[in-house]
C-alpha cells in the first residue's frame, strides 16, 4: 500500500483518541467501582442487576413487615403473660372463697378483688401498641372491648359492640405481605396462604360464646359471674363454675404457647429472607461490582499504552526524504 503522511497522521490520531477514550472509561469505572456505567454498555447484565435490585428492595420491605409483626407478637406475649398471672391469682382466690371457712365478709373482699382483676383484664386487652389496638383483629384503629350498660346485660363484656357470649367464632383476618406471592380470589380478597395473617382478637385469648352446658366461655364474664355469687354469698353450683374457670385458664395457657409458635414462624421467615438477601447481594456485586485488582491492572496497561502512543507520536510524524536534502 502506498502510504502518505496524511494516512499516517490520521490513523495515529484515531488510535491516540481510542487509547485516551479507553483510559478515561476505565478511570470512570474504577471511580464508581462498577462494571458498567450505562444500561446500554451491557444490557443483559444490567437487566439482570436491575431485577436483582428490585428483589433486594422488596425483601427489605418484607423484612420490615415481619419485624412489625414480630413487635406486635412480642407485645401480645407480654399481655398474655399478664393475663395468665391474673388468671392464676383468680383461681387461688376463688378456691379460697369456696372454702367452707370463708364467711360472707371474706367472700365479699374476694369478690372485690375479682372485680379488680376484671378491670385489669379489660385494660390489658384494650392495650395500644404504636397507636394500634393490637387485640382488635382487623380493625386496629378502634378499641375492641367495652362493658355493656344495657339493663339486662349490664356488666357483660362487649367486643366491638357485640356481647362476647353471642360470638361463636372469630373470622377476622388482617394480612400483611411477606413475599409469599400475594394473590386475590375472585372477590378481590386475599387468598390466605399467599400472605401472613397477623390479626389478633382478644376473643381468642379471653374466650367467647357459651359451652354445651350454656356457661360462658369468656374469662371476663366468668369472673363477673363468680364475683356476683361471692357478693351474694351464694355457693350453689360453685364447683361447676370453678371447673369452668379452670378450663378458661387452660385456654389462656394454650394461647401463651401459641403466640410463641407464631413468633418462631416469623423468626424462621426472617432468617430465610436474610439468607435470600445475602445471596442476592452476592449476585448483585457479581453483576455490577468491579474487581478492583483486575481493573487497576487493566488501567495500568491502558495508561502504559497511551504513554507509548504519545511517545511514538513525536517520532512517527517527522521524517521524510525532504529532511535529508543537503
Amino acid at each position: 500500500m502506498r502510504l502518505t503522511n496524511n494516512i499516517i497522521s490520521k490513523n495515529y490520531l484515531k488510535s491516540l483518541n481510542k487509547s485516551l477514550n479507553e483510559l478515561s472509561q476505565m478511570n470512570t469505572l474504577i471511580a464508581a467501582k462498577r462494571k458498567y456505567m450505562n444500561f446500554a454498555d451491557d444490557p443483559i447484565n444490567a437487566m439482570r442487576a436491575m431485577k436483582v435490585r428490585q428483589n433486594i428492595n422488596k425483601i427489605d420491605v418484607y423484612v420490615e413487615n415481619l419485624r412489625e409483626a414480630a413487635d406486635i407478637f412480642s407485645q401480645y406475649e407480654s399481655v398474655i403473660s399478664n393475663v395468665n398471672n391474673i388468671v392464676s391469682d383468680a383461681l387461688v382466690q376463688v378456691s379460697q372463697g369456696m372454702n367452707g371457712t370463708s364467711d360472707a365478709t371474706a367472700r365479699y373482699t374476694i369478690a372485690q378483688s375479682l372485680r379488680a382483676f376484671q378491670d385489669a383484664i379489660l385494660a390489658a386487652v384494650n392495650t395500644q401498641f404504636a397507636g394500634k389496638y393490637i387485640f382488635s383483629g382487623e380493625t386496629v384503629g378502634v378499641p375492641p372491648f367495652s362493658i355493656s350498660e344495657e339493663e339486662d346485660t349490664k356488666g357483660m363484656l362487649l367486643y366491638k359492640g357485640m356481647l362476647v357470649d353471642n360470638i361463636s367464632e372469630v373470622t377476622e383476618k388482617r394480612y400483611i405481605d411477606i413475599g409469599l406471592g400475594l394473590s386475590l380470589d375472585e372477590y378481590s380478597n386475599v387468598i390466605p396462604n399467599t400472605a401472613r395473617d397477623i390479626a389478633v382478637t382478644g376473643l381468642e385469648l379471653l374466650g367467647c360464646g357459651v359451652d354445651e352446658d350454656g356457661y360462658t366461655k369468656n374469662l371476663y364474664n366468668m369472673l363477673g359471674i363468680i364475683a356476683k355469687k361471692f357478693e351474694e354469698n351464694d355457693m350453689s353450683g360453685m364447683d361447676v363454675y370453678y371447673e369452668k374457670l379452670q378450663k378458661i385458664a387452660d385456654n389462656v395457657r394454650v394461647q401463651y404457647v401459641g403466640v410463641g409458635e407464631k413468633t418462631e414462624y416469623i423468626n424462621f421467615f426472617l432468617e430465610r429472607l436474610d439468607s435470600e438477601q445475602f445471596n442476592l447481594k452476592v449476585k448483585q456485586s457479581r453483576l455490577e461490582g468491579l474487581d478492583l485488582a483486575e481493573a487497576i491492572t487493566t488501567f495500568g496497561e491502558l495508561e502504559l499504552a497511551y504513554n507509548a502512543c504519545l511517545q511514538i507520536g513525536t517520532k512517527i510524524l517527522q521524517p521524510s526524504l525532504l529532511d535529508f536534502l543537503d
Binding site: M1, R2, L3, T4, N5, N6, I7, K10, N11, K14, A32, R34, Y36, M37, N38, F39, A40, D41, P43, A46, M47, M50, K51, Q54, N57, K58, D60, V61, E64, N65, E68, A69, A130, G131, K132, Y133, S136, E138, T139, V140, G141, V142, R174, Y175, I176, D177, L182, S183, L184, S188, N189, V190, A195, S320, L321, L322, L325
Partner: protein, 477 residues
C-alpha cells in the same frame, strides 16, 4: 536538412516541462493538507514528427522528434473507491445519528446510576406496604400520596424531555441539515456547468473536480446517492448527475437542482424533492426520520423504536396506572389525565391524603387494610398495558429502559463497525490520491536535475554554434 535552431527548441521544451513539473510538485506539497485534494501528475509526452502529415517535415534520417510536451496535468483518483466510500459513509451516518439520539433517550430513561420511574415504583410499593401495616394513619397515607405524585411528575418529565429532543432534532433537520444539503446540491449543479465550459475549451479543471467530489462526499453523509456520468458524445459530457432512489436531485438537463423540503403527512415526517416523496435508503436524514417517526411495536408493521414509541409507551403507562388505581378507589379518581402529558394526581387526593381508600368496608379510620393489599397486589400484578405487552407496571418501565439501551448498544456497535469500513476505504482512497512527501521530494530532485541537464544541453548547443559562427573559416586570420 536539419534546421539550425531545432536543437534549441527541443531543449527549450525540456526546460519548460521541467518547470511545469516543479510547479506541479509545488502545488501538490502546498495542498498536502487540503481537504479533498487529489494529487496531480504531469503527463509528459515526446513530440513525434510525422513526415507524412506535415508538409515541411524533414524527411529520412533526421526524423528524431522535436522534444517534449506537457500533454495534460492529470489527477490521480479512483472512481470506484469514491462510490464505495459514499455508500459506506451514508450507512455510517445513519447509525451514528441513531446512536447519538438514543444516547439522549438513554440519559432520560437509564436508572443504572440515577433514580427514575422504576425506583419510584419501588418506593410506592414500599410505602403502600408501610400503609398496610399502619392503615388509617394519615402520615403513612400522605407518604403514599407524595410517592404517587413523584411518579406522575416523573412520567410528565420523561414525556416533556423526549418531546424536547424530538423538537430539537426536527429543527436541526429543517434549519441545518436540509439547508446545507440544498446548498451543496446547488453548488454541485453550478460546478457542473463550470466544468462543462472548461472542458469545452479543452481544459482539465482538476481542482473543480476535487471541489465537486468533496461536495458529493458531504451529500453522501446525508443521503444515499448514486452519481452518474455522461459519455463523451453526450451534450452533458463533464457533468455529473446525482440520484437518490428514483429521483434526480441534480440533473444537468434541468437548469436548477430540486429543492428538498420537510413535510408532515398523517403525523409522519417526510422529505420531499420538489413534489415527490424521497425514498431515503440510508444516511443521516434517514436516521433522523426514523428517530422522529418510529413507533416501534405501536405501528402495524413493527418498525424502529423512535421517540413516538417512547411517548406512546409513556401514555399507555399513565393511562393504565390511572385506570388500575382509580378502579380500586371505589369511584373516587386518584389520578387524572388523558395521557402522560397531563398525568397528575386528582384534586381530591391532593386536598386530603385520606382520599385513598385503605378499606372498602366501613370507616376508613378503623385500621382495616384490605384495600391497601389490593393496591399492593395491583402494583405487582400483570396488566395489559399495550396491545402487545402484558406484565406488571414496573416490568413495563424496565422494558422501556432496556429497549432504549439495547437499541443504543446495537447501533453503537453498528456505527463503530461502519466507521471501521469508512476509515478503511478512506485510507485506500487516500493511498491512491494523497500526496506523499517522499514522492514529491523525489519529483523535485528529478525535475531539478532535468532542468539542469536541459540547460547544460542548451549551453552545449550554444557552444557548438559559437564554433560555427565565430571560429569557423578564420584559418590564417
Amino acid at each position: 536538412m536539419r534546421p539550425t535552431f531545432s536543437g534549441f527548441e527541443i531543449v527549450k521544451s525540456g526546460i519548460q516541462s521541467a518547470q511545469v513539473g516543479l510547479d506541479v510538485t509545488g502545488k501538490n506539497v502546498a495542498n498536502m493538507g487540503a481537504e479533498g485534494y487529489s494529487r496531480q501528475v504531469v503527463d509528459q509526452k515526446a513530440i513525434y514528427y510525422s513526415s507524412s502529415t506535415y508538409k515541411y517535415a524533414p524527411v529520412g534520417s533526421q526524423r528524431l522528434g522535436q522534444g517534449v510536451t506537457v500533454d495534460q496535468i492529470v489527477q490521480i483518483r479512483d472512481k470506484f473507491l469514491d462510490i464505495r466510500f459514499r455508500a459506506a459513509n451514508s450507512e455510517y451516518a445513519e447509525f451514528a445519528k441513531k446512536t447519538e439520539v438514543l444516547e439522549h433517550i438513554n440519559d432520560i430513561l437509564d436508572e443504572t446510576t440515577a433514580d427514575g420511574l422504576g425506583v419510584l415504583l419501588e418506593e410506592l410499593f414500599e410505602r403502600l406496604q408501610a400503609l398496610s401495616t399502619n392503615s388509617g394513619k394519615i402520615e403513612f397515607a400522605s407518604l403514599v400520596r407524595s410517592s404517587a405524585q413523584k411518579i406522575t411528575e416523573t412520567v410528565q418529565f420523561y414525556y416533556n424531555k423526549l418531546e424536547e429532543i424530538s423538537a430539537l432534532e426536527k429543527e436541526n433537520l429543517e434549519t441545518i441539515t436540509l439547508v446545507n444539503l440544498n446548498k451543496y446540491l446547488d453548488e454541485i449543479a453550478k460546478l457542473n456547468k463550470t466544468i462543462q465550459n472548461e472542458e469545452l475549451v479543452g481544459n482539465t479543471p482538476n481542482d473543480l473536480y476535487d471541489a465537486r467530489n468533496l461536495l458529493l462526499d458531504k451529500v453522501s453523509k446525508y443521503l444515499k446517492i448514486e452519481v452518474g456520468e455522461y459519455p463523451d458524445d453526450s451534450p452533458y459530457k463533464g457533468a455529473l448527475s446525482v440520484k437518490c432512489g428514483n429521483i434526480m436531485l441534480v440533473d444537468p438537463a434541468q437548469s436548477d437542482p430540486v429543492t428538498l423540503s420537510l413535510r408532515e403527512e398523517d403525523g409522519k415526517l417526510k422529505i420531499y424533492a420538489g413534489d415527490e416523496e424521497l425514498d431515503l435508503i440510508t444516511g443521516e436524514i434517514k436516521g433522523t426520520l426514523d428517530i422522529l417517526n418510529g413507533e416501534g411495536s405501536f405501528a402495524e408493521v413493527e418498525e424502529f423504536k423512535g421517540i413516538p414509541y417512547y411517548l406512546k409507551s409513556l401514555d399507555s403507562f399513565a393511562v393504565k396506572f390511572a385506570e388500575v388505581f382509580n378502579s380500586l378507589n371505589g369511584g373516587d379518581a386518584l389520578f387524572v389525565g388523558t395521557g402522560a402529558k397531563d398525568f397528575a394526581i386528582s384534586d381530591g387526593w391532593l386536598a386530603d391524603a385520606n382520599y385513598l381508600k385503605v378499606t372498602t368496608e366501613g370507616n376508613q379510620d378503623s385500621g382495616k387494610n384490605d384495600n391497601v393489599l389490593r393496591m399492593i397486589h395491583a402494583l405487582e400484578q400483570k396488566h395489559e398495558i399495550t396491545e402487545k405487552f402484558v406484565g406488571s407496571l414496573s416490568e413495563f418501565v424496565l422494558i422501556l429502559m432496556s429497549d432504549a439501551a439495547i437499541d443504543k448498544n446495537y447501533y453503537t456497535d453498528r456505527a463503530s463497525a461502519a466507521d471501521t469500513v469508512v476509515s478503511a476505504i478512506d485510507n485506500q482512497r487516500e493511498s491512491v490520491k494523497g500526496v506523499s512527501l517522499n514522492e514529491e521530494t523525489v519529483n523535485m530532485i528529478k525535475y531539478q536535475r532535468a532542468f539542469e541537464a536541459s540547460a547544460r544541453v542548451m549551453t552545449a548547443l550554444d557552444e557548438m554554434l559559437d564554433i560555427i559562427i565565430n571560429r569557423m573559416g578564420i584559418v590564417g586570420r
